[in-house]
């Protein structure tokens, strides 16, 4: 039984972010990959949509420049033939401030011939922004809308 592409990709991604070892991840990304980490790109330039291997590798380098992964737990995982979805709990350290950041992340990946062709990531970004700021954002309760 062969290992699912997600596991290889996940190991390589964490090695790239924590150890700045990019060779493994580079070999696992398709040239035409589509990539999107949704969130406020004005605050976090590494968020947003990217197309193509070089652009994605650049984002991964930016993630490595900004964060260290201290721990991650997969709370839920589903593996399809060439796809995977997981909900993860990440504990990160922001390298510029040394602040701990805790995130819940949903990750949807698609693979072709063992290489990543699509990655969509959703984060509770309001929480992320508050943690990055180190304080709550005060807004009125939206009880009549939303």
């Amino acid at each position: 039984m062969t290992e699912h592409s997600l596991w290889r990709f996940s190991r390589a991604l964490h090695r790239a972010i924590n150890d700045r070892h990019f060779e493994d991840i580079e070999a696992l990304i398709d040239e035409d990959v589509e990539w999107a980490l949704y969130g406020p790109i004005d605050m976090f330039p590494f968020l947003g949509a990217r197309q193509g291997k070089d652009a994605v590798l650049d984002v991964i380098r930016q993630l490595a420049d900004n964060f260290q992964v201290r721990r991650f737990d997969r709370e839920s995982i589903m593996l399809g033939v060439d796809s995977a979805a997981s909900m993860l709990r990440y504990s990160l350290t922001a390298l510029d401030s040394n602040k701990p950041i805790s995130l819940r992340v949903a990750q949807f990946a698609q693979f072709k011939a063992g290489k990543l062709t699509s990655m969509r990531v959703l984060i509770d970004t309001f929480d992320l922004v508050e943690q990055a700021l180190g304080r709550a954002i005060h807004l009125p309760k939206m009880t009549g809308v939303g």
């Binding site: 004005d42 839920s76 699509s118 969509r120 970004t125 992320l128 954002i137 009125p140 939206m142 939303g146």
Partner: protein
């Protein structure tokens, strides 16, 4: 038909029922003790707090219905394994108040028990959602301008 195929169909059935406004049909897809949680700022969007059981979920979905005249969705990706299904959704909600459309992507993780949805977990790009609901950039707030000061 595999359990994965069945569960995928069940999720699509639930989503279609909700989109056409048939909350009771959507609830019929769920267990009596269905557990619902959205990871979103509930101090800002209080109706998105945790819900336990059909009655609480009915109240949430009715609240959404009272605020939005039309809901539709696209499903770019659906992954099923065993008793779990993950759906990547692009949703469009039309506000009753001014006809503007709130559009956002969400990840929904469903856990099945006995052929019904027993647990729903959602993750949303919540910063963007709040801005769309509020119809205002949050950025100035971070710089210290209160939202009700315009």
């Amino acid at each position: 038909m595999t359990v994965e195929s069945l569960n995928r169909q069940r999720v699509l059935h639930l989503l279609d029922a909700f989109a056409r406004g048939d909350i009771e049909a959507a609830l019929a897809c769920c267990t009596d003790d269905v557990d619902f949680l959205t990871h979103a700022p509930i101090d800002v969007l209080p109706h998105l707090g945790p819900r336990h059981g059909k009655q609480e979920l009915r109240e949430l979905w009715r609240t959404v219905q009272t605020r939005y005249s039309e809901t539709r969705h696209e499903v770019p990706q659906l992954v099923a394994e065993g008793n779990t299904v993950a759906a990547y959704l692009r949703v469009f909600f039309r506000k009753r108040s001014n006809d503007r459309v709130v559009q956002f992507d969400m990840a929904v993780f469903y856990t099945f028990r006995g052929g019904q949805v027993a647990q729903i977990r959602e993750i949303i790009d919540s910063y963007d959602l709040v801005q769309q609901v509020l119809e205002r950039e949050i950025g100035p707030l971070i710089a210290g301008v209160r939202v009700d000061e315009g």
